[in-house]
Amino acid sequence: MAGFFQKLKGAGSGVSKSDSTASLKTKKDEPPLDLTPVEKLLHNAGPVREDGSDKFFGLENFGNTCYCNSIVQALYHSEHFRENVVNYPPPSPWGEPNGTERKVNVTIRPPPAPSAANGNAAGPNKPRQSFSGGQLAPAVPPLRPEDKPDSPEYKKKQAMIKGPVLELAQETADPSGMEECTFTGLRDIFTTLIDSQSRTGVLSPQRFLDIFKRNNEMFRNSMHQDAHEFYGIVLNDVIANVEANGKRMQEAAESRRKNDPSQPADMALSTADAGSGARTPGTGWVHDIFEGVLTSETRCLTCETASQRDETFLDLSIDLEEHSSVTSCLQSFSAEEMLCERNKFHCDHCGGLQEAEKRMKVKKLPKVLALHLKRFKYTEDYSRLQKLFHRVVYPYHLRMFNTTDDAEDPDRMYELYAVVVHIGGNAYHGHYVAVIKTKDRGWLLFDDEMVEPVDKNFVRNFFGDKPGMACAYVLFYQETTFEKVREELDAEGMDEVKLATQAADLATTVELVNGSVSAGTSTSLLSKLNSQPLPPVDEDEKLATLDLIKSAPTEIDLTTPNGHSEAHPLVAAPPPAPAVMTEADKAATIPPKTKSEIAREKKELKAREKADEKARKAAEKEQVRIAAKERQEAVQKMRETVRLEREQLQKAIEESKQMAAEEEKRNKRDNTTTDTATATSSEGGGGPGPGEQDPSSTPWNGFLNRASRTSKSMTRKSMTRKSFAFLHIGQNNNHGKDDDKTDRSETSENRSDRGGESSSATAGAENGNGNGNGTAHHHLHDAPPPPTPPHQNGTGKHSHLLPWSTPRSETAPVAGDILRNHDKDKDKDKAPFKERFSFSLGRKKSSKFLSQS
């Protein structure tokens, strides 16, 4: 009971230390540091899982390697991919080379002594970017960004101190005989994480980066790199590595069969016609997971011959329009385009360059759909890549509209599971983080070494229009089913409730906050980090205590009555409960110093305001408390089932409340001063940090070089066009003639690689992006209704629609028709919009909504 009371006090008084030490008693070899939110999240997680789904490690940043960290995290948390990576190569049937267990060469870096850690906790390579707080030299010298408990820098440092830091710096020999390559590097990371006995910590992926940089010259510097480009190269490397290995194994098997060991295995490799031929066994999984197929249908406007051409993709690069949604951008991606003028189509049928109409549809949907939002656009004015801050909303779930009629399961449901966010003002600077939905721990923010639970709505902070220049850059959607989605939504409601409550708290007036009396520190509390999801508590007992602790200080008691009138405490988790819990979470977990980061003048003003406010507050508080007490008594009478223990608790709460109130007042005074002091150092955050490269000097060259390099290295895979953001971004811009020329030249470069058709497609695709250029033609060829609309034959079958449980069939009958467009004769100045729009209504729909019955 004593420990219990201590806990209670801790919760009530807002001293997180006592709380965490209390709970720390259950963990043995942890240093007596405060529990991080992730650790709280995992507090009662039970035995370590074997599939690695409960490992939440940060990744060390070696100076601008956040592009790697964010992508690796996203890859790791794709269940399919992780499983397949660590299980490849499969144990060979001959048991020969794989007899020994693969052992990754991990060293655990000794944690730096906390005192010494002050200087270089972050790791050996120092020039790292700090996006928040950065470039303006701190006016108050002693306060560095990493000294502020709320800053990411501080948290990262703490993560390094806390460890364990798993270092992957040495070469690991692979018993199966695979050469060291990108794939093995990645696999070693995954295996290390899965094998780790700790659920949290930091992994230092040095070896992986070394290997990767060895193979990819352009990444051999400490500059800011493009995460999406990195993603594409890594996947291509993995595919190549796996295929090469498959070949090798096949070869080995054959030679073994032939009993002719003299034949060198790599002969087969050199004679490879593998690209087109049948895949080697056991290597299909990479394709299965990430690879989709796009069909481009091109119709020559001279001879009306339609030709189709398939190409595979590992992700879709979509152009952005202002104030649009991902759904809509995907549709423009598939919108019809004209191939004309310098971009004509070489028609085999009528021989020669002709005007043509082309559109891209998805023929095969991948299990993991990566959407690359083309946020970086080449602008002639600055002759550099500019970042687009368009607001582009993305839903948690998605279905594709732009599938072909013969696509398999064209209606499949995708769920958003990872968002790679770019923070920064342009393509040459900034920082990447990943926000990832984990299997059963909700959403987490992975910011290099730091891992932090966030609530579901946090994911929506990166639509692009918010201050702070943080925008979603790559979205990862993974395959799911309608039923799974429903189930999950039914289960997860609690988060929503909590969120709403927090929002309410924030916007609350003083007196309202003080509804939760003692802990209610109103303003100082409000700006604080406070979004970890509910700690999942397994034991009933725990929940019961939590419930009491949390709800008690509020005095309002919406929830506790519940908990007590019910026989079983678990049942007592009605939605209001978490609302109250978070309130107290705040009290329990938040360090006493607040870091609301605004400019100093504002701060001072606020300080004055605060003083005034505080007087009122105090009076208000008193009133509320009295009122609350009365209410409390009333409730008490109402409930006869209240146990004796509860009364004890009440007393304790009163005590702790008073303590907290006093403490709060003190804190607040402190805060006011510290705030003023720190404000300047954080001014204008979000810009490039001091450690970053000079933006004007090298990067553009870098990109050009890279361009030639990549187009070479990527020809093997047809993903080139779709994934190759930096080259094609510029093509959006059809305003300037010169620019146009650039486009062409770039595309022709592609052409040499991949043949004329797809290159023209490229330009055409960019063309359609909202300016009149392409759309006028749309109009032209829109007029004769597309010859293929299969509405009619489709609709007949759908006279009985299934009920709501099968959403696909619901969409069927009328939808296709209802949306048929009749606005041919509209005023012309609206033409661009309308035509494009109408198009999307006409054909696309028909194919989309006409489901199989």
């Binding site: 928040s132 104030h323 649009s324 909303v393 839903p395 779930h397 279905r399 449901m413 983080v433 946090f458 990166f462 201050p467 702070g468 220049m469 429903r486 939504l489 039914d490 409601g493 929503e496 409550t501 929002a503 708290d505 916007a507 007036t509 309202l512 303003t523 409000l526 700006s527 980090l529 406070n530 979004s531 309002i556 008691d557 009555p561 519940n562 019910e566 049942v571 609301s596 980061e597 605004i598 606020k606 409730v635 109402m638 001014e683 204008g684 009985h800 009920p803 709501w804 619901e810 939808a815 028709d817 209802i818 949306l819 009749h822 606005d823 004769d825 609206k830 919009f833 209504l841 729909k845």
Partner: protein, 503 residues
């Protein structure tokens, strides 16, 4: 980020980009929609004591206050509430609401059509309604809820507190127009009032006045954002207007503008502490209104009752706990959970009734024109049709994907239209599934981003043809027509839609 201003701006833009032609196709004459006036409502700056919204750390996990953009309600004192024999089409017309102030043009044109409202009445009265037209009042049969007979029918009870003299820290400032009483006296009786909430501001405007840009009253709240509001159509008169507002703190204010008095309900979130995403007077009721809280709870309040401590009542106890089927998970797909019934005997204090629909945020709800049903859409992508008189769940439908954000009924109550995060408008025929048909009538594709609001145009709807409009995050307004014959014979179906890229 919205601009921060203090004054409303009225402009009269002209030119082709401010009008659009609705090509009515074969069914209607073409119509030209012209933007007459563009009234831009000021977005108030945050209260000085409010935590700064701009956090330099974009990854900050600090919670942001709930906002709901701008919501607008129009009120015409002259149109008396229709007798119960008719559909309450007025509620549709007056409830027209744009989530973006620029869309006032929509309501402007509606005023032109007001003279045709009798027309609508005729149509409705000649048509045999599918439901009994005399819907019982909500909570009928519970004598405790029977309205207390008032001595003077014309004298309505006012809220308790004086708003202008209030020293509540909830309200920051109340600014009345200097000539408020004069303006109220001199205004045309049939003119439109407008009420709008923009973040922490609430404005009362007179749309019939040449000074329409100058508010009659503006209330600035301290920190709480007003997310929604509604005006009572039953009690309105030139001396009395009942307005309820829902706040991000979960609190509710009942405000009477003509006397500037107010009452706070759900004070300190004592009944429910989560933000109010939608609030509506229960049709035909003088006292009761329904608020949707963001934790998926719907609460009926009585404007004149005190807040009580709310604990789910025993009668619903077995129902709630019984559904936690072993997994500890409550099943919300088959029924709503009545935490307190309107028929409860304990009606001394608020809440009057509490229903728990799901754990997810309720984004919007709408009463059916016959006052029997309630359509509720939620962040989890569901459309629920409730019989709110019986407190029962009738239908449950799902979005194509993503959450549903807005909902409305056709004026005849036959169709429900929802808009959502799948960029689609979905037309539903509630009850059709039970009759063996398809509840989903159509999905309409046209917006380029999430749909934020939808409303029928009652003057363009008759027995067979319907028009509704929608606005979305893509800053477009789309008008949609559909017709019954087309729906039944899909092959011949056509639907036009027009859109206008916003200036």
């Amino acid at each position: 980020m919205p601009m921060i201003e203090t004054n409303n701006i009225l402009s009269n833009p002209t030119g082709p980009e401010y009008q659009f032609l609705v090509g009515e196709g074969k069914f209607r004459d073409p119509g030209l929609y012209v933007l007459k006036e563009d009234l831009h409502l000021a977005t108030p700056p945050p209260h000085p004591s409010e935590a700064p919204i701009v956090n330099p750390n974009p990854l900050s996990t600090a919670p942001q206050p709930a906002t709901a953009g701008t919501r607008l309600t129009l009120l015409n004192l002259d149109v008396s509430p229709l007798s119960s024999a008719l559909y309450r089409t007025t509620s549709q017309s007056e409830g027209a609401r744009g989530s973006i102030p620029e869309h006032l043009d929509e309501s402007q044109s509606s005023t032109d059509a007001r003279e045709s409202s009798s027309d609508v009445g005729r149509i409705n009265s000649t048509e045999v309604p599918p439901f009994a037209s005399n819907a019982p009042a909500f909570g009928e049969g519970n004598t405790l809820l029977a309205p207390v007979a008032q001595k003077d029918a014309n004298k309505r009870r006012k809220p308790k507190n004086n708003m202008t003299k209030s020293n509540s820290s909830f309200i920051s400032r109340v600014i009345n127009h200097e000539a408020l009483s004069k303006r109220l006296q001199e205004r045309a009786r049939d003119g439109l009032f407008a009420f709008a909430n923009v973040n922490r501001a609430f404005q009362w405007l007179d749309m019939s006045s040449p000074l329409k840009a100058e508010y009659l009253t503006k209330i600035l709240f301290t920190k709480a954002h007003c997310l929604c509001h509604d005006v009572n159509k039953v009690t309105k008169s030139s001396t009395h207007i009942d307005v309820v507002m829902g706040f991000s703190t979960g609190e509710i204010i009942w405000w009477e503008p003509t006397t500037q008095r107010y009452t706070r309900l759900n004070k300190n979130g004592i009944i429910n502490g989560t933000p109010v995403s939608e609030i509506r007077w229960i049709p035909g009721s003088e006292h009761l209104f329904l608020a949707a809280h963001m934790d998926g709870t719907m609460v009926v309040y009585d404007k004149e009752k005190e807040d009580g401590i709310f604990t789910p009542e025993e009668e619903s106890g077995p129902r709630t706990s019984g559904d936690t089927n072993g997994t500890g998970r409550v099943n919300y797909t088959s029924q709503i959970h009545v935490h307190k019934s309107v028929h409860s005997k304990n009606q001394k204090a608020n809440p009057v009734a509490v229903w728990k629909l799901s754990n997810h945020r309720i984004n919007a709800f709408a009463f059916s024109p016959d006052n029997r049903h309630l359509a509720v859409v939620s962040e989890d992508g569901t459309l629920r049709i409730l019989d709110y008189l019986k407190e029962e769940l009738l239908d449950l439908h799902y979005a194509y994907y993503g959450g549903l954000t807005c909902v409305c009924w056709s004026p005849d109550g036959k169709y429900v239209v929802t808009g959502g995060q799948d960029d689609l408008l979905s037309i539903w025929c509630p009850g059709e599934a039970a009759r063996g048909g398809a509840a989903l009538v159509a999905r309409c594709q046209g917006h380029h981003s999430w749909v934020t609001s939808v409303a029928f145009d009652p003057w363009r709807c008759d027995e067979r043809n319907y028009r509704f409009g929608s606005v979305g995050e893509d800053r477009r307004i789309c008008l949609w027509d559909f017709s019954v014959g087309m729906l039944n014979r899909p092959r011949a179906l056509a639907q036009q839609l027009e859109e206008k890229a916003h200036a």
